[in-house]
Symmetry: C2
């Protein structure tokens, strides 16, 4: 074991509570006080709300020792099934609606901006940067699809040099990382928008698929009588300095899971119809005539505009909750002045 | 991956919500509705409160994507450092005051009953059953201590045949399981009370020690400017059919961490003074004169009395919270009648 760090005070400071005879009623304020000794006001606030909610949950439910232990075992299981290419806690956050909520809080969109959707646990950092027109799949069984997209600002002006991460499953409904024998990335790539804001590539018509259900999260969904399917979609993530990172996805209209996505990601503005590639486009983009065609125009917002909108919405929401807060580095802390 | 279980409905039931365009404001009721399809009313209630608190936490703090990801990474870390003999999530529950709270909720004590304390993450199931008078330590460096105890009911009548798990650290402040080269249990045993409700054994005068601080929980405490010490104590767990399981510990008066236990376990009724073994006792118990002496009388309550008291306190507390609940199998669920 690492040596104990003597920098931490051996005895709490003058403001620290006397921790004796803690009860159902006094454990919460005492835990909050002992957690309030750091100089980091944001951390203090986060811990204070976390402990309050955690304790209130136990009090309102009269949480049993068996239920507490089941929760501990569940959390251990989530950690232990996770690895470099699987993150069960992101999946848990997804199925509890937290991921969608956090994305909505952090990436508010003005009316014209493309809406966000959940990142999910399958984005990787090893996708190859491919030139426009490339094929990003090696799956011969899937239905080929040409995607022709643009990325513009809210005034319609093209944005050049945006890095776009694109990823989807293969025709069996599995991401490359779900195959134990994965040797290199497949059904994923990074493209860069050209001077006209365009990017185009060949992928697969996406299919609906179950999220990983052989772990604790899958068992939870089963206990809740919830299915674990996601409607067919392709993920997109847009990155360029000065622009608010956009994490989103496009969903196919008519999918059986269109209105029951296990991770709450579908927004009507992101539901699209596919077309077929005509003769002219087939020649222009050097693909086979008659394959599926996805066309979409994405709209980014600037980092500055997003920050302003986020601050405005945060201030309004906190006031509505009756909380007296101020924003420090764009994040709320109690306003004690 | 395991085959998808077709027993789960592919499309939600008639009462299931349409999951589209979820926002900061409507994600919570929709998540609760999709989680409310099982026949298990208790599970439905637990999930409903869990989701409400989780989402309220994100809304009140305007949780940032970076903070969300830090939490995910923290939880993964807790799972991955855990193993058969280390449970970082129990430790997390301990330092957040949740373990103490859950114990208080589940094991209320009438005035005469011995109070409970935190189980902690170091109880094991491989401790040997030793006859009265045995030595449960193999550490030559510690200060020997004779413990002479009784276990009675609230009227003072001895209880025979109670199995008592006893565990403490060695003189270096480590439990046996914290030593990588552990081959067999040490500083732990199971005793059984005799016809007079007595049990006695030789252990070590306990020492204060830091809880494991080389993992995520230790780092959290450091960020919170909290120390990670526990005052010197010996753990006891009492099991006998018909009696409420008692998990407790005895703490040494005057320990520097007596009022700042990192896991909130100390209760004044559990703080004791040690004595020294006199000549008569030394002969009677066949130990060296002058070693430390711990004497304590533990009082168990019946399962029935505890259940009644727990139900009564639960009903009162829920009414005070303004919740309209009923108890089913002693656990609250919403009373919808």
């Amino acid at each position: 074991m690492a040596p104990f760090d003597p920098a931490a005070p051996a005895v709490p400071g003058a403001n620290a509570p006397v921790l004796l005879d803690l009860t159902i009623d006094n454990i919460t304020p005492n835990t909050i006080r002992i957690n309030s000794q750091s100089a980091n006001a944001r951390l203090t606030y986060l811990m204070s709300r976390l402990v309050t909610h955690l304790h209130d949950f136990a009090r309102e439910t009269r949480l049993s020792t068996d239920e507490w232990m089941a929760a501990i075992t569940f959390l251990i299981g989530c950690g232990q099934i996770s690895n470099e290419v699987r993150n069960e806690f992101i999946l848990l956050s997804d199925v509890l609606g937290l991921s969608l909520l956090v994305d909505n809080i952090n990436h508010p969109k003005p009316p014209k901006g493309t809406e966000g959707s959940v990142l999910g646990p399958f984005h990787t950092h090893d996708a190859p940067v491919l030139p426009n027109g490339s094929t990003m799949t090696s799956d011969p069984a899937g239905e080929p699809m040409l995607a022709i997209c643009t990325v513009t600002d809210t005034h319609g002006a093209p944005i050049e040099g945006v890095r776009i991460d694109i990823w989807e499953t293969d025709s069996s409904g599995h991401y490359d990382v779900q195959h134990a024998d994965r040797e290199e990335p497949s059904e994923r790539c990074v493209m860069v928008s050209d001077a006209q804001g365009r990017f185009w590539f060949q992928g697969l018509k996406p299919v609906s698929y179950p999220i990983p259900h052989d772990g604790p999260v899958g068992k939870l969904l089963q206990q809740l009588s919830r299915h674990c399917w996601r409607p067919a979609h392709v993920h997109f993530m847009f990155n360029k300095d000065g622009w608010d990172r956009l994490i989103t996805a496009l969903y196919l209209r008519g999918d059986p899971y269109e209105t029951s996505d296990a991770v709450f990601g579908v927004k009507q503005s992101l539901v699209i119809d596919l077309d077929k590639v005509d003769k002219e486009s087939a020649e222009k983009y050097r693909v086979k005539e008659g394959i599926w065609l996805l066309k979409h125009d994405f709209v980014l917002t600037t980092q500055e505009d997003t920050e302003k909108l986020r601050d405005k919405l945060a201030t309004e929401a906190l006031a509505k909750l009756g909380l007296r807060m101020k924003l420090v580095d764009h994040l709320p802390v109690p306003d004690l002045d």
